[in-house]
């Protein structure tokens, strides 16, 4: 962590070149084991991967229409946290901030995934984000409050959801259902510093990225109800093929197709 802090500090000296250096995985990043390898380090193991990194991914994938760079950053950060892949987090947290994701939104993404990916995933992300925030001068005033004024609750939809869960699993684990209602849907989902649409984008990305196929239908429908367009959901799959691997995306495809087909076009 101290090595990492030193590295990030040295990056700051690049000043205006920072965003670009980071984007292209500048050499300064290569001195610590906690950060992703620089292009020149990738080359010493696989010249092909260097080519794919600077060409296919940076030029072809990230510049595709259908999903904004900001959305791509949200999807990527969610996938990295869900998969606990800290090595790429310094690069992608910085890139996300460069792409317009606000520090408060980064904070909420990590908070959200503490529950949707597991507490330790969030702790690993906190350890990285702490240094990125310090380096970029993100202070407490830019973070969401612990207990802000919540968004209004859609009482009807929430009652229906809770009733369905109660009917299915009320006898299996009342504790899970209680926390699902009180902690997730009446607290976490109502936190205002991440829009419901972005919160859904984070959730769906994390589910696909960690192979949680059975949980995709509910959350993809919710995402689309919250404003995620079908064309955007489609492009999320394309983006995640690179960051979560092809097999996770191919296992999600039939489920996503089922959701698309079940909704009025």
């Amino acid at each position: 962590m101290r090595l990492l802090a030193a590295t990030v500090a040295s990056l700051s000296l690049l000043g205006a070149a920072f965003a670009h250096a980071d984007q292209s995985r500048g050499t300064a990043m290569s001195t610590t084991s906690s950060a992703s390898p620089a292009l020149e380090d990738i080359r010493t193991v696989s010249p092909a991967l260097e080519k794919y990194a600077s060409g296919t991914i940076q030029e072809d994938l990230w510049k595709r229409p259908g999903l904004s760079p900001r959305d791509r950053s949200i999807v990527t950060v969610a996938a990295l946290i869900a998969r606990n892949q800290t090595i790429e987090m310094p690069h992608h947290l910085n890139l996300a901030l460069d792409n317009g994701v606000k520090p408060a939104e980064i904070s909420e993404i990590i908070t959200h995934l503490a529950f949707y990916s597991g507490w330790a995933n969030a702790m690993a992300a906190v350890a990285v984000a702490k240094d990125v925030f310090t380096q970029r001068g993100v202070g407490a005033d830019q973070l969401p409050m612990a207990s802000p004024q919540p968004l209004p609750l859609n009482e009807a939809a929430e009652s229906q959801r809770a009733a369905r869960n109660q009917e299915s699993f009320g006898t299996v684990s009342p504790g899970v259902l209680q926390f699902t209602t009180d902690l997730l849907f009446k607290d976490l989902w109502l936190r205002p510093d991440l829009t419901p649409r972005d919160r859904s984008l984070v959730t769906v990305s994390a589910l696909i990225a960690s192979g949680q196929v059975a949980q995709i239908p509910y959350h993809l429908n919710r995402a689309m109800d919250n404003g995620l367009a079908k064309s955007q959901a489609s492009e999320v799959l394309t983006h995640l093929a690179f960051y979560a691997g092809w097999p996770n995306v191919f296992s999600a495809l039939p489920v996503v197709k089922g959701v698309f087909d079940s909704r009025p076009s």
Copy 2:
């Protein structure tokens, strides 16, 4: 690892305050990249997560009836090893020992998960546990023998299990079935320093925590045969929602319901 050792050494100076400091994630932990962030570090990224850590999780979850703190520690440690999340291991191995899990039981949990989660998961846990044991003065005399006198084998049940596997998969991979019998059920499961009930608790927790839904029915039935109460299994799900993430638990719910429904109440 040396940084970590130094940190754990500094923690020991806290003497009687150790358990509490550890429980509340004291600041001493925050100096190394290998340990979970202290509450004050969490706050610099997400004041909400600090609130959930000290409130929801520490006060609400861990103090719920239905599962003892010792059992909760076993479930948590199993989940962390199964998910290879070393960042939270120093905290939770110490907490487990504080909660009455014996060093010999920690040793057996790691040994068990070498086979149920994969060899490298156990190696990562060994690297952390080694320092925790050194710090707390746990010597070789407190560890299980390499080849102790085994528990008696239930020959009838084991014959039935082996025959069922042979019928299903005898032609697919005789090697897997041979090691399953000789190494797992006639060796590992008979090691006496972890009770069959606790060994089952570790197995079921690891399966749920790593999304191995298809393997839950056999092992949950075995766990209940070994003395895990339905109310405890139910609360294991509640606990794992936090440590393995909601989606893993929701994917397990219908399978657990199937097992519950299939057994005489």
Copy 3:
């Protein structure tokens, strides 16, 4: 990473004893947090695991007929990369090279899994392989070119595959299908420095090791079309039981059985 480099450097002084020291997890490896624990460190946590490491795994598993040490190394390295388990990578990359896997093949395995396991998995492997290559004097001349002359494409089979995907998922994510054709099957799979049979072995191992059961049928059939014998596929399962954990293998067994049964014997 610098600690690791120092450790690997010190290992090189062992000269001719290197391979054996590495095989037996020599003590020199134990000084860094990035490398797997030495046998004497394993003993301080679990004498049983030390016994299983030097007996069951090294003597029984790795010396079984049915799969060569070279193939076992390919399977193991693929599993470690797919599961992002860097702690065991220095040991197993060295062992793979000792077992006859060429540096160019290691490079291609990492490149392949960038797409089949996710980009960050490959980056984590690059960070380890870079130091192993440096230590062993593997230079750029031993690495595959970024854009080599591709192997010939089986146009008929590829057209059929693409058409089937198009029919199933053409409306869900055209982006995924486009990259699947252009990047994977008309580029990655045609790279000549890893034989199609070995590339399939890597793919199948990664799928089983990361629980991607739904993707096994296509790729196991492809592997067998590419020359992987049924007896070898069977032994891959045995090997992966240890490196990916029993549950992943038991979840794969019925799917593998389905593939075996569907093919002419």
